[in-house]
Amino acid sequence: MSLVTTLSQIPKKMRDVRTYVPFASASLAFVVGAAILASTDIDVGRAYTIMFRGAFGSIFGIADVLVKTISLVLTGLAVSVAFKCRQWNIGAEGQLLMGALGGTLVGISLVGAVPGLAIFLVLLLSFAFGSLFALVPAILKVKFGVNEVISTVLLNFVAILFISFLLHGPLKAPGFNPYSPAISDASEMPIILPGTRLHAGIFVAVAATVGVYYLWKTKIGFEIKSVGANINAARYAGMSITKSTLVTFVISGGLAGLAGGLLVSGVQHFLIEGISPGYGFIAVIIALLGRQHPIGVAVVAFFFSVLMTGSETMYRSLSIPTAFATTLQALVLVFVLVGQLFIIWLNKRQTRRLDLKEKWLAK
């Protein structure tokens, strides 16, 4: 068998350079990241090694990566469900915080001490709180035509301030710090890998990923997606724009709320300000890079979680600020988008070549 026939057996998509452009572009982000670090006399090789070791060097590191992946998958799915329906929900951070509040309320109440029921109620209420908070911009949009990008972004600040108010006032546990009381043991997500922080919330994240995958195959999923794809065609087909918008935001906000509930129930076990290091914002990048596909979202979320976990180790051992991870994540998105330039160039070259071939054959 000659080399040529072997090559031709590889699927066409895998032989196409264009498939690899986004990955090549993404790795360029790390080169820029290295350049930024190098500009301050940091040993870049050592920094990246420490980053990698922080994430994969120990069982605790890997568990931490998975714990953060839970939050990133859920918020990433939340944003991508909305984006897929052309609803630009940038409010996952606020919806996550409201979900965390819902979970906390269950956890510190009497029902929160009932084994079994407690976990169920934590998940239910965190989903509901996230949904309800997401309904605000949804209703403002369908009733008053308020641009949802702006309203959802601004409502994040409102949620942050509201949580701050609660933790300094009605929800404050006795003592000096603005913390809520601790939730009951029955409301805590069980640890599934003893000695680490990995908790059962990972099953929720997996279920949500599968759920979103099948959501698009259901009638309601098809409907909300169609409204996003072509609002006029959907209206002509008799679909309700109002209903679709509301349903989209309920699902989206609920998923973000779940992420918040799991942060309380699985990781922190009480509510604090800054319980999320900006998961809801990183989720925007995840949804865009994952092309709103649940598998894509899960893969990018895992990769980003590695960056975040590694970046924390970089901070501890080299005092490189954790903003390095956020910057890298944004850079990856920018480079993948700019990488399209190369694809456009490849396409142009291809058409030009085909043109020449045609002309030559016509002779």
Partner: protein
Amino acid sequence: MAGEIEAIIIGVLASGVRLSTPILFAALGESIAERSGVLNLGIEGMMLIGAFAGFMGTYLTGGNYVVGILMALGAAAGLAMLMGLMSITIKTNQLAAGLAIWLLGTGLAALLYRLYFGVRTAAPSVDLMPKIDIPVLSSAPGIGEVLFSHDPLVYIALLLVPVTYFFISRTNLGLKIRTVGENPKQADALGVNVDKIRYLAVILGGALAGVGGAYFSLIQTGYFLENITGGVGWIALAMVIFGRWKAYWIAAGALIFGMIDSFQLALQATGTNIPFQFLLMLPYLIPIAILAATSKKTRAPASLAIPYRRTER
């Protein structure tokens, strides 16, 4: 007693003018970009980069504000160019491109500040840009303090309102920007380079956002903080819609907003029973309320957020 109340009111109004200044810069800039058909959601990121670059330039030159402002302008314009590359040349979804720029600017500003200045016991700071009293006018009772006794950027922002109006509605370039935003095909047929005009508008808008960002570090605080702009870029976006893309209306929106913000800050200082968090929510809730009241009546430039593709051959 009456004199005291008068002094308080004048103080609140004067600080309202100062609080509306960064919004004015960002919103006027954004209106130019949007008039050309590019929805730039990245202005919050550009403002943060401007706040950082402005601070660094001023700090490193030992208090040279001109260098600081120029660096803010340049850094934000650089991000705007990247925005242009994605949204105009590559024709990526403009919302995605803008969000990417927002998060990149936010991350970069925080990262570079921490890397270059580290964590110190006392945050490095610059002296605040001094006030310049406009002769004669500043001594007018009441109005003098409200309008004519500020730092230079306030005057520049206020001057930018008629300048932007004139630029957009009365100049040849302004006409091109509007045509490109309303009907790029026609503009192209008339020989206008659509992409070039859009790049120009986005970069101009970004540069102004950068100056607006520098206002926080050079005038309001004297130092840099992560997320120092606190969402003002997004508020500016709301003001552009409220102002229907017209300079005078945008200015009116920004000033009203500044006054309300100043009022809630004054209320906090008096120590009311209202928890401060609820007062701090006002700057975020008011733009939403304003949009709810006015959104249905506005009409955006026809080609806003639609990349222009010349039909090939």
